[in-house]
Structure formats: C-alpha cells, structure tokens
C-alpha cells in the first residue's frame, strides 16, 4: 500500500473542498444537504447499503448501489457521522461545518483471506428489508470473478448459474429465464439497452468485469419502470472511476488482454474510467506459426461522472465492441482477383444521464443511443448481407418519498430501427431488403406503499403506445411483501408484460451468434405475458439467505421463425405462437465469511403451441442445479468451485435423409443432389443429462501493486455433454455421431491492480 493510500485508509475520510462545495444547494441558511459516497479503503469500490447516521440529529440514510448517499437538511455546524454495515468496520467520521460533499473510505471487516471473497451481500439484505420486489439477485464483481469459467470473469456466465435461468449449452451466453426465450430479456449497461451483448458468437459476454459496480438480475415480476420485455431484466451498472488517484487494472487471460484506467479529472470533481480489451489469438498465431487466424474481438468501455454542486450527478457512458473476422475465400494464386469472406458484428452505445434531488423529490433524465450492426460478405462485390439495429431512447423519471409512499412516474420515447439487406452487387440483384421501425411511447407509474412496517405493497402500471400498430397497451402490476418476522417474508407479484420487438432467430438452434430483431407493426404482433410469483425469503442469519419462489407465465403472440417466408414480402417471417411455463426456484446463499456461494435449484416446465401443434421449447429443462462455492485454499489461495446439473433438454430427432436433387433445366433432368436430413416432430427427443464441474484457484500477491494469478479448469472430469448429434442414413445400419460440449479446458491468467 502506498503511503498516500495508507493515509487515506487510516483517515477514512476525505472532505472534498472543491470550490463548488460552497455553492448554495437550495437548503436554508441553517441547514445544508450533503452528498457523499462510501468507498472501500483497500480498492475504492463503492459500498452500497452502508447506514450513515448523523449522531447529532439521528437522521439515517443508506448508501445506494454506487455507494452514494444524501443527507438532507442537516445543520451547517460540524457534525459526526456513524457508518455501519455488516462486513464494514464500524466507524465515525467528522463532517466539518459548511461542507456539502464528502467521500468516506471505510475498512471491510470480512477481509479474512483476500478481498476476493470478503464483501458482504448487503444489497440483497437491503432489498429484502426495503423492497417489495421478488425474484432479484444482486451480484458484485468479486463474486463474479470468483466463479471459475473459461478465460476471464463473465457476467452472463455467472447469471446463468442463478435460479430460473437455463443455459442451453456451454457455447452460449444467452439466457432462457423461467421458460422464456432469449429475446425476452432486457439487458442494460448502465441503463442503456444492449441488443446482443456477446462476443465470439455468444460464447462470451461483452461486459468487462473490472468496470462493473453491481449486477442486478430480476427473473420476473420486474418494475413497471423497465420497458418492453417479457421475462427478465439484467441491469449491469458501471462503477464510477476512483476520485483519489489514477488506478490501473490489467488482465491477461486465455481469452484476451485488457487494461482499465480510472481516476479523477484534475481541476474538477469529475472522474473517469476507461477500459479496453482485445483477444490476441490472431496475433499469437501470426507471431508464432505460419498460419493465419483472422479473427479477433475487442471492446472499449468508458464512463465519465460529474457530481454537480446541486447534489445531482451527470454521467456519460460509452461502449463499443466489435468482433471481426476475415478469411480468404479465393486466393490470389487462383489467378483471379482475391475474394475474402469478411464478417463483423458489434454494439455501439452511448448514454447521457442526469439526476437531481430536489428536497424529497428527485428527477432524472436519460438519453441513449444503442446500435447493433452485423455484416457478412464475400468481398469485393460478390455477396453482402447487413443488419442494423438502432434504438434512440429518451426517458424522464420523477420520484418522491412521500411519507410511507415511494412514488415513481416516468415517460419514455423509443424509436427502433431494424434493417436487413442482402445483395449480390455483381449481378445488381437484391436478395433481401426489409425494415421495421416501431416507435414506442411509454409511461409508467409505481408506488411502493409501506402500509405497515410488516407489509409493503407496490402497485404499478405501464402504458405503451406502439406507432404503426395503433395499439395502446396497459400493463398493470402488483407486488407485495409481508414480513412474518424481521427475517422471514412472504412475497408475491402478479402482472402483465408486453414486448413490442421480437427476435426471429431460430430459437431451437443449439447455438446462435445473435438475435435478429423485428418490431411490431400492422402485422407483427406485440408479445404479451401474464405472470404470477409467490414465494418466501428467509434470512436465518445475517450471512445466510434462503428463498423459494413459484411462478407461472403465459405467453401470447410470441413469434417463431417461418423459414418459408418470401424475401419479397414483409410480414410473413414468423408464425405466431403461444404457450406457458411454470416452475419453482430455490436459492440458498451464503453471503460472506470464509465460505461463500450459493446452491440454486430450479424446476420448470414450458410448452409452446403453434396452431394444433404443441411442443416443448429447446430450453425446457425440468431440473437445474448449480452449486457455486468460494473458500480459502492452500498457500493463501482462494478456491472456486462450480458444479452444475441439468436434466435432459429437448431436441428434434432425425428419422432419415433424402436426396434434395438439383434440376438441370438445360437437360430436363435431375443430375445431382445434396443429402439432407428429415425430422419427425419438433423437439420430440431429449439429450442425456448435463453435468459439469469447474474449479479455480487464485492468489493475491503484493501490496502496492496487487498481482492476482489464477488457474481455472472447466469440466474437470471431462464429461461429454452432448452438444448436437449428426446422422448418417446413407449406409447400413444408420449411424449417429455428434459433438460434445466443452471438454476439459484449463486456462491461466493474471490480473494486476494498482
């Protein structure tokens, strides 16, 4: 630890005497509003859920997910603040007279082994105590990095281990939540929608764990404030850059090399954080072999945060990620002009967020743009196919704490654009040219009413008008929580959800690179789901929680790819299906201490109906078990274990093959053929059960500069989980082969933090 950092840690308080601190905040001459943040002394990560008490007045507030808090109307005289939270060293600090901004550094008491395992899960407890919101789990970066996986910590891979989620196989990061399709999840990066948050065709997520503050995953019954999805919300918030000095985090993993830099912007109260990563397999192959590996991905995440003298905050977030590949299709040696197969895809997002407290009220304004583009082509000029998905959004939210009511209302405007174009430039022929452009106007209102200390009720409603459909949808929701004891609550929710955009990707494919989105119009329906959740949540001890939730969901007007669509006709790309799912999710979680982790069990049943045809969707897994543990290991290490079990998933059985013949119009005969499979009923077979054990071991070395080497093994006992089968009916007897999912995969890496 540097002397400066040690001093910070020992003082634990840094009054920031910036010029703006004397600017009036709307408070009277005798009182003031104080905006503050609570950060961990050892690494400046934000600490949510810390209770701050003004000892002189008794006023109490808690820090939010970003460690921020506001003390309203406190005397301008010198005060003492007490800070307490499970897992945080209890302490008091001085709040000098006249100061309106403060940053507090506190020690984390649960640091018995390494910070990797030490944070208390107070966000979950805080939510338990304060919110009528079921089905939500909060993850923090340290928990995510402790779960063994391939390459480097991956948010989506960890979310896949939570109850209610199904991962179809090892090669996809997509989520099927409580029986829903993967396009029914709203994925947010600091409040900005991401359409396809994946690299390497869905194998890895786009999120850099080092840049993350918290991850809130809500598997159902989510707030009316969230627009336009049926099944879940994955809300990934980026942390602010540290404000005391420049910090650096770097990692070299089996997947990529990355670097994150953060710190204050001199002369201002603003902070920045910028991180980038890039896969390096292509460079490695180029450098050490005679082969070419023309594929890479990279991304850049940045956040600029500016606390305002009026206690508000402005933040600017940007993200750009790209997967790029190229391979020779026709070499120069052919004597022709070379032709390459080139493909790329990626997200580009930017968002501006403003939040301002005004007494007991607050107002926020958000303006975002998110774009996903993909293209594949034989260049130059042979074939080109492009998809562009764009969403501009603006949202205004106003909230207030009015006695026992916490009211929130808002409105949003979301113009989507989805375009698809495929052409053969050489022939000047356009194969496909289609576009959807729904614009969604949304309003919502929600009130959490603490009817009694033991009863919370949260009614809400969301209305959306989708231009082009002429439809105004109203989605009422009601959640409630009743405390039997202070550690035992019954919660439940019912509600209706609408989704104006769909993916027409074939959801039955075991793996896919990305979703292909279309939007509601005069023929494309708005998806609808009615849902109910009922469960209990118990905290037998401060560090243990246990929850059981049953749910039921209906699906109406869900689209399913129709491969018989005519490329010249828009509106025939899908069938309209309906269905249902129901199940039970169980989560036992140890939040802090030497042993942390969780055991998740899900029982689920899903069915889809297409006309008179009923079938189980490809993610219809009856039983899912995930055990995730972190515990101290030998030589000062930290061990991570994950074992997962999944009962058989459906697939479509192949019953033979046929010669799909080629007709020669010149000779009037069929002169060639391709052997093509024939199937029976959709998803009428089931794969064998899935199970897999992963393990990791990590160390933390050094003080000023922290080195964190890690070694991970995925699929320790090399289980051959079936990925897909292949068939050969062109001999006697027929034969079935196939491919397994991930074999045993060891990976090494090291993280450096300063």
């Amino acid at each position: 630890m540097t002397p400066r950092f040690a001093a910070l840690a020992s003082l634990r308080i840094i009054p920031i005497l910036a010029g703006f601190c004397l600017v009036g905040t709307g408070a009277s001459a005798q009182t003031r509003d104080v905006a503050g943040r609570v950060l961990a002394a050892d690494d400046s990560t934000a600490l949510p859920g810390v209770r701050i008490t003004v000892l002189e007045t008794g006023l109490q507030v808690s820090s939010d997910a970003e460690g921020s808090f506001t003390l309203r109307g406190v005397p301008t005289s010198a005060l003492r603040l007490a800070l307490e939270r499970v897992g945080v060293r209890q302490d008091t600090v001085d709040l000098p007279a006249g100061i309106t901004t403060i940053t507090v550094y506190v020690g984390v008491t649960a640091v018995q082994i390494r910070p990797l395992i030490t944070t208390a899960e107070s966000p979950n407890r805080e939510r338990f105590e304060a919110e009528a919101q079921p089905s939500t789990v909060t993850l923090q970066p340290r928990e995510i990095s402790a779960v063994p996986t391939i390459g480097e910590p991956d948010v989506l891979r960890v979310v896949q281990l939570l109850p209610g989620t199904v991962a179809k196989n090892d090669f996809t990061s997509t989520l099927n939540v409580r029986g829903g399709e993967s396009d029914q999840n709203l994925v947010l990066l600091d409040g900005i929608t991401l359409f396809n948050p994946y690299h390497v065709g869905g194998m890895f997520s786009t999120f850099d764990n080092a840049a993350i503050n918290t991850v809130d995953f809500t598997a159902g019954a989510f707030s009316a404030a969230y627009p336009g999805r049926l099944s879940s919300v994955l809300d990934v918030s980026l942390r602010q850059g540290r404000n005391d000095r420049i910090g650096i985090n770097a990692m070299l993993s089996g997947l990529s090399a990355k670097l994150l830099v953060e710190g204050p912007i001199p002369g201002t109260a603003a902070t920045f954080m910028i991180g980038g990563r890039r896969s390096y397999a292509d460079r490695w192959v180029d450098a050490f072999t005679d082969e070419s590996f023309l594929y890479y991905f990279g991304d850049l995440t940045a956040k600029l945060s500016l606390p305002l003298p009026t206690d508000g905050v402005i933040s600017l977030v940007g993200y750009a990620g790209r997967d790029v590949g190229s391979t020779p299709w026709l070499s120069e040696s052919s004597g022709q002009e070379p032709v390459d197969l080139e493909f790329d895809w990626g997200n580009t997002v930017a968002g501006l967020y403003f939040e301002q407290p005004i007494g007991n009220w607050w107002v926020s304004q958000r303006v975002n743009v998110t774009r996903f583009t993909t293209g594949i082509g034989l260049v130059p000029d042979v074939f080109d196919a492009r998809n562009k998905t764009t969403l501009w959004s603006a949202a205004t939210n106003v909230g207030a704490q009015l006695g026992t009511h916490r009211v929130q209302v808002g409105g949003s405007l979301e113009p989507y654009t989805f375009t698809y174009r495929a052409e053969r430039p050489q022939l000047e022929t356009v194969v496909l040219d289609q576009a959807w452009a729904p614009t969604v106007w949304g309003v919502y209102a929600e009130d959490q009413w603490n009817v009694a200390p033991w009863l919370f009720v949260r009614p809400g409603i969301r209305g959306e008008y989708v231009e082009g459909t002429g439809r105004m949808t109203w989605a009422p929701r009601l959640s409630a929580k009743a405390f039997v004891t202070e550690n035992f609550a019954i919660n439940g929710s019912i509600g209706r959800f609408y989704q104006p955009i769909h993916s027409i990707r074939d959801q039955e494919l075991p793996v896919s690179f990305f979703e292909f989105w279309i939007g509601a119009d005069s023929v494309t329906p708005i998806g609808r789901s009615d849902q109910g959740v009922l469960g209990v949540e118990v905290w037998p001890r401060d560090d243990w929680s246990f929850s059981v939730e049953g749910y039921t969901k209906s699906y109406e007007d869900i689209v399913m790819r129709d491969r018989a669509d005519d490329p010249k006709v828009q509106g025939d790309e899908f069938f309209i299906t309906r269905g249902y799912s129901w199940g039970v999710d169980v989560l036992v979680r140890k939040h802090f201490g030497p042993l942390t982790g969780w055991v998740a069990y899900s029982y689920a049943k899903s069915l889809r109906r297409l006309g008179s045809l009923s079938f189980a969707p490809g993610h219809d897994r009856r039983h899912t078990v995930d055990v995730v543990l972190q515990t101290p290991g030998p030589f000062g290490s930290q061990l991570g274990l994950r074992w997962g079990y999944g009962s058989p998933l459906p697939y479509t059985g192949i019953i033979g093959s046929w010669p799909h013949r080629r007709y020669n119009s010149q000779e009037n005969q069929f002169d060639d053929f391709e052997s093509e499979v024939l199937s029976a009923s959709i998803n009428d077979q089931r794969f064998p059960p899935y199970h897999r054990l992963d393990a990791s071991i990590r160390w933390e070395l050094g003080t000023n500069v922290k080195w964190r080497p890690f070694f991970q093994v995925v699929n320790v006992y090399n289980r051959q989980n079936v990925f897909f089968y292949t068939y050969d009916f062109t001999g006697t007897p027929a034969r079935r082969g196939g491919f397994s999912q991930l074999p045993i995969v060891p990976t090494l890496g090291v993280e450096v933090e300063w």
Partner: protein, 425 residues
C-alpha cells in the same frame, strides 16, 4: 441453385465460425435403428418439353447400399430407392376439355420413373396442374403447381442484343462486357440463369466444373463477364472463360420450384425445407426455359494470346485453319482455351478427311513457351459423328511463327500425324 448454395455457404461460414469457437469433441459413432420412411417426389412440369416425368422414391433410412448413392441423371436413370407400382396422374384443372384426358396417367417406364404421354397434359401459362399419386398401400400424395410462361427473354451484350431461343450465337467479351438480361413473364416467380459449356462433341458438358447457375428474384439483372462462381462451386472458377462456347439458359420458375431451390433442412433442427406436397417431400413445380449459345472471347493480356493461322499437311489432309487462343491468366504457366475454325482434319472410317470444326472449343496449357493443346473431336462413322478422336497439338511458341506437331493420341499411344506452321494473324 444459387439461393440454396448461399444457404449452404452461409452454413459453411457458420461452420468456420464454429470451428473458431467450438473446441468440442467428436462423440463416438453408434449404430441406431433404421429411420422412418418418407416418400420423395421430384417433378418439374415443362410446357416447352414434349414429355413430362415424375420421380417417386423413398427416403434413406439406414437400409441403403452406399454404392447406390452414385446415381445421377434422372431420367434416364432410376432413383436409388424407387417406389414402384404407384398410379401417377397429372390433371390440368383449368382445362377440363384437355384432349389428353382429365387425368393424364404417367406410366412407370423404369422403377420409380413415371412418364406421361407425349405433349400431355396440355398446359399453358397460368394453368393449375394437380398431381395425384396413389400408392400401392392406398396412401395418396398430392401437389399443385401453376404453369409458368416465358413471354420473352433478351440478353444484351456490348454490341447487340439477342432473344433467348435464337439460333445465332452471342459473341461476348468476358473481360470488358456485361450481359444485361430482361425476362418477361405473366406467370412465374423466379428467374434461373444457367451456364453450361458445350463440350467437344457439341453436347452440354456433364462436368459440374463447367456449369454455373444463378437465381434472380427480379426480371432485370446483369452479369459482368468476369463474374466468378463462388457460391455454387466456390473454387473461384470463372462462369465463362474466353475461348469457350456455352449454352446460356434462362428459365422462369414457379413458386414451388423457387422454394425447392432456396430452402433446405438444417442439420441440427431438421427443419427449413419449404415443402408444398401433401404426403411426401420434394417438389411439384413448373419451369419454362430458353437457351442461347454464347462464344466467350477476351482481351489480349499476354503476347501468346491471339489468332494463329495453322497451315500444312497432317495425316494427308491439307489444313488451313485458325486457332484463336486465350489464356486464363497472364502467367508463365497458364491454362488456355481456343476456338478452332477453318479446314481441319477428321478421322473417318475411310481415313482422315478435311473437316470444318465450326469453332470447336479446345483446351490446353502453356509452360513458358511450350504448349500442349488437346483437341477432342468427333469421328465420322457410318452412323454419323461419334466421340472418339483425341488429337494432341504441341510445340514451342514464338512471337511470329512456330511449328505445331499434330499427334493422334489413341489408346495405343501417340501417333505422329504431321506438323503445321502457326503464324500469328
């Protein structure tokens, strides 16, 4: 087939990406029980053809001899697993007074190959045809199609335009010209354009490397002469090479055929093929096609290219011919193609005689200045021209003139026939 080819190619692209991302292991192959029988129908009604046919066969279920899979060219061949004994009829529901009968019975002339009588059923553009197949077990297969029409089809090169169906040949400079197509039809869904090289005997080549096809979902489209067939063949072969003669066929197809060629079942989901038959998988569609002969020429990009006058005596025949020679690329070693015209020699049962090859297209190659050209040409018998003669032309190229040795490359070895003098024109 281009649309389906695109599908296959995109699947291949997926496979490439999968190879990048999927370090998976192959599962051990195991024997499985035989699959279920699905009946397969392939039938394309051609109002421009005298006889129609329907192929009826079974799917492969794991009970087929792999050696049988090498059967192509149906008809005249039969399918691998023919379904015999069915009653196949085709009716023109829009022409109840069809002199062929209200339901034309197709006879089984070979196992699984059912052929209708000549010029039956009667059909015209827009007519609805119904296929009915009564199987020996009593099951019935049904399908319908709308007969397409091809009102007119034109292609325009650099200098002139010709209608398809013309007896004239279109001279086409592949290096500088772009073909422009215009196809007019009141009934039809998709245009299929097919190139097929005329082989040494004036027949369409059976080699898949000499054939390309494209689908166009529009009535107007273009094709630059330098277009490569990257989707069907994928090897970067030119659709047309200078020095070669092609038959270019434009076909108007119905929606059933369009779906048949553009769709396929995904290997993993078993779904994707767009089937319009009831009781079977396959196609009952309609096409009208019209051909046009194209002689492809090119710009001179190498001094070895050009037209040479061949004179001299070979096998006792006084030769006075021209050889218009084009290289595939301007490299030291390069393939060549050439048109042979004028007075040449032909083997007959009475010996070698003068013969006009009428622009016979031949192939060969250069290694530096040394060349070898293979002239596969018909021999004249009492029963007419038949395949059988292969002449070998060899020599060392020189700028102005050089000698060309002519050999009869028979089964017993090369026999010298004489030497010709080549002079660049």
């Amino acid at each position: 087939m281009a649309a389906r080819a695109i599908g296959y190619r995109l699947s291949a692209i997926g496979a490439v990406l999968a190879a990048i991302t999927l370090p998976a292991c192959e599962l051990e192959e195991v024997a499985i029980p035989s699959g279920e029988e699905v009946l397969i129908v392939h039938a394309v009604m051609r109002p421009d053809q005298q006889r129609q046919f329907v192929l009826l066969e079974s799917s492969w279920r794991g009970e087929v001899d792999p050696a049988d899979l090498d059967r192509f060219d149906l008809p005249p061949n039969s399918p691998q697993l023919p379904v015999e004994g069915a009653v196949v009829t085709v009716s023109n529901v829009d022409f109840p007074g069809d002199p062929c009968g209200s339901a034309v019975v197709f006879d089984e002339n070979a196992p699984g190959l059912y052929q209708g009588p000549g010029n039956c059923p009667t059909m015209g553009p827009g007519d609805q045809l119904e296929l009915q197949i009564l199987l020996p077990n009593g099951d019935v297969i049904r399908g319908t199609t709308e007969v397409v029409g091809l009102d007119s089809a034109w292609v325009r090169g650099a200098l002139d335009s010709l209608p398809f169906g013309s007896l004239d040949s279109l001279i086409f400079n592949r290096d500088s010209d772009t073909l422009q197509f215009a196809v007019y039809s009141s009934h039809g869904r998709l245009v299929e354009l097919q190139f097929n090289r005329l082989d040494y005997y004036g027949n369409l080549s059976t080699s898949e490397f000499d054939r390309s096809s494209f689908l166009a979902d529009t009535n107007d489209f273009i094709m630059p002469g330098t277009t490569l067939d990257l989707l069907d063949r994928g090897e970067g072969d030119e659709v047309v090479r200078a020095g070669r003669r092609y038959v270019m066929t434009v076909a108007m197809t119905d929606a059933n055929y369009f779906d048949f060629v553009r769709s396929q079942n995904n290997e993993l989901t078993g779904r994707g093929f767009i089937n319009h038959l009831e009781g079977a998988v396959g196609v009952f569609g309609s096409i009208v096609a019209s051909p046009l002969t194209v002689d492809a020429v090119g710009d001179a990009k190498d001094p070895r290219e050009g037209t040479y006058r061949l004179t001299g005596v070979a096998a006792g025949v006084t030769v006075d011919a021209t050889l218009s020679m084009y290289l595939r690329q301007a490299t030291d070693s390069a393939d060549l193609s050439a048109f042979l015209r004028g007075v040449w020699l032909q083997e007959t049962e009475q010996g070698w005689m003068p013969w006009d090859p009428r622009g016979l297209s031949v192939d060969g190659g250069f290694v530096g200045p040394t060349f070898e050209i293979v002239v596969e040409q018909p021999m004249l018998t009492d029963r007419g021209e038949r395949p059988g003669t292969t002449l070998l032309l060899t020599g060392t190229w020189a700028a102005d003139s050089f000698q060309v040795a002519v050999k009869d490359n028979g089964v017993f070895g090369a026999l010298d026939l004489g030497a010709l003098t080549a002079v660049k024109q």
